[in-house]
């Protein structure tokens, strides 16, 4: 491509190949979403001492398919007060980014022993991901930012109170947690040194100890998982659709296939976000360790998929486990966690990692060896982090004291008089 006129001489073979991979990955994603819905219902049932779906198909596997078919034939209602065009548009705005996010994830491929995860098909190098854009993981951030439009507009266009409250909550929540998400992701980029998802996986292909989970020091991983859960509006961050408070939140007024589309988008996001966790922190399809004692007669690409799927299952189960175990956060707790804990911690940790990176790359000369330099920088960095945390805690405490010292007016709402 480079060196030729840009975009001229379209290679039709490439085009067909791109369309085929996109269609295949969409189908795979749909099937996995179907199974994820079943998985969630089954696991939650077991955690709550119930049985769960067990009638449709073996182990109730076909339950989702049957539910979807049923929803297809239900009456499609649009409220009289609704903004009709936006109301119809919103479910697609939720669904499309959810799928697009999945396209950058390498789902299989042989990454062991320095392979780059490609396979040769008919003399052409192919990767097990739909696209590998130069902006790489930024594409994920952009798409996850777009995802909120579906929820926001659905709530607004319903012309109803509870959906509007739900969508306002959603936008506030997503904006608050996006910063922490981005900062935790930046830590991974700092360690792996590339934006490309394929490159990120390659950088983690040296076994368990090379995973970003370990090399970034666990903290960004924890932040990313919490912020990611909040970004998905999954429990315990599901204030957006808190049943006890605002009925169904943004999708209260939706029925029939439009509701099914929201449902689909939500679970697609769960699968995609889990895949992003795996790609960023657990090395995607790269193996955790070699099996020198068994020599499986499987091609490396398939082994990659097995690794990927195994890691994916951990997070899928984690999301279900969260839902069954954790109580929902209150709104102020949600904002406190995001702004006062996650963002400062993510920012501080990023600075510490950057300091370590500088110490490794340059000869600072604090100690005799580069390792000594790194150690000193690490200690200084952690001390700085602790000092910053102390300052922040003191500032929060001070602000709280001041706020409680202000006498509250005996009647009316605070701040109404000015």
């Amino acid at each position: 491509m480079i060196g030729q006129p840009y975009l001229i001489d379209v290679d039709w073979g490439d085009l067909v190949q791109a369309v085929i991979t996109a269609v295949i990955s969409f189908a795979v994603l749909l099937v996995s979403v179907m199974l994820m819905v079943w998985f969630e219902r089954k696991v939650v049932s077991r955690l709550q001492n119930r049985i769960g779906p067990n009638q449709a198909g073996p182990f109730g596997l076909l339950q989702t398919l049957f539910d979807g078919t049923k929803l297809f034939f239900k009456e499609d209602l649009i409220p009289a007060e609704a903004d009709r065009f936006v109301f119809k548009l919103a479910p697609y705005l939720a669904l499309v980014p959810a799928f697009l996010m999945f396209t950058i994830i390498p789902v299989a491929g042989d990454f062991s022993n320095g392979h780059d995860g490609s396979v040769m098909v008919g003399g052409e190098k192919m990767f097990f991901q739909v696209i590998d854009p130069p902006v790489g993981i930024l594409f994920f951030l952009a798409m996850s930012a777009l995802g909120v439009y579906g929820i926001m507009l659905a709530g607004w266009s319903s012309g109803s109170k509870y959906p509007l409250i739900g969508s306002v909550r959603a936008s506030a929540q997503v904006i608050s947690y996006e910063a922490a998400l981005g900062l935790a992701l930046a830590s991974v980029l700092l360690v792996t040194g590339t934006l490309s998802t394929n490159g990120i996986v390659q950088a983690q292909s040296g076994g368990f100890t090379s995973w970003a989970l370990v090399t970034t020091g666990f903290v960004p991983f924890v932040i990313f998982v919490i912020a990611g859960t909040a970004e998905l509006n999954r429990p315990p961050f599901d204030l957006v659709e808190a049943e006890q408070e605002i009925v169904g939140g943004f999708h209260t007024e939706y029925s029939s296939i439009r509701f099914a589309l929201f449902f689909l988008a939500e679970f697609m996001n769960v699968v995609t976000m889990s895949a992003i966790f795996v790609t960023l922190f657990l090395g995607g399809p790269a193996p955790a360790w070699d099996f020198p004692w068994i020599d499986l007669p499987l091609p490396g690409a398939l082994m990659g998929f097995i690794w990927f799927f195994g890691k994916l299952l951990i997070f899928l189960f984690m999301f279900v486990w969260f839902r069954a175990t954790l109580p929902r956060l209150r709104y102020d707790q949600l904002m406190d966690l995001g702004w006062k804990v996650l963002i400062p911690l993510a920012l501080g940790w990023l600075l510490v990692l950057a300091g370590i990176r500088v110490a490794q790359d340059n000869n600072i000369g604090l100690a005799d060896t580069a390792f000594g330099d790194t150690l000193i920088i690490l200690v200084i960095g952690l001390a700085g982090l602790a000092a910053g945390a102390g300052l922040l805690a003191a500032a929060i405490k001070n602000a709280r004291n001041e706020a409680s010292a202000v006498a509250l007016p005996t009647s009316g709402i605070v701040g109404m008089e000015d």
């Binding site: 379209v10 130069p134 902006v135 930024l138 952009a142 607004w156 969508s167 306002v168 934006l195």
Partner: protein, 177 residues
């Protein structure tokens, strides 16, 4: 000879880009006009999203993918979401609003025309009859960041400080204790 045929004859190697640019430009202009004429605040915001998205598409056309991703991330993903959030918190009635139009539209039009004239003059003055190179090599993120953190480090830092000032200012304005 139609404009289309003229373009095709002048620069045959850029025909796909020219077609794509035409489509994007039409979407952008129509959305921009609708944005100022619609009588619903949320619709206006959505048209603005469309304008910003078509600008991002133009960046992709110019092989500046990092800028396009940033455009989506910052303007569509953050600024517009915040704007819609504000609108929904305060007033977000469905259907047309009567009090959106007022008699200052001619001044607004005048300012817009003036802005267009100045920007057109600046662009034509600077680029004149320059053409895009025959080969456009997509710019990588690393190249962009190298430029920002070497050649343009001073403007970059100045903007950072400016944003910080805006941030602190917003907090000061917001809390009145």
């Amino acid at each position: 000879m139609s404009l289309f045929a003229l373009i095709a004859q002048e620069t045959p190697q850029f025909l796909p880009q020219n077609i794509a640019f035409g489509v994007i430009a039409v979407i952008s202009v129509v959305a921009a006009l609708k944005m100022v004429t619609t009588s619903n605040v949320v619709h206006a915001a959505l048209y603005l999203v469309l304008v910003l998205a078509s600008v991002a598409a133009t960046y992709i056309l110019l092989a500046a993918e990092f800028v396009a991703a940033t455009q989506i991330l910052v303007y569509i993903g953050a600024v517009m979401v915040l704007m819609l959030f504000g609108v929904m918190l305060t007033r977000a009635q469905i259907g047309a609003e009567d009090d959106l139009n007022h008699d200052q539209r001619w001044i607004g039009g005048l300012v817009a025309a003036l802005l267009l004239a100045v920007m057109s003059y600046a662009l034509i003055d600077h680029y004149g009859d320059d053409r895009l190179p025959e080969t456009i090599v997509p710019q990588t993120t690393a190249e962009v960041s190298d430029e920002i953190f070497s050649t343009y480090i001073v403007p970059f830092e100045a903007i950072s400080v400016l944003l910080l000032a805006a941030l602190i200012g917003a907090i000061v304005v917001a809390r009145r204790d």
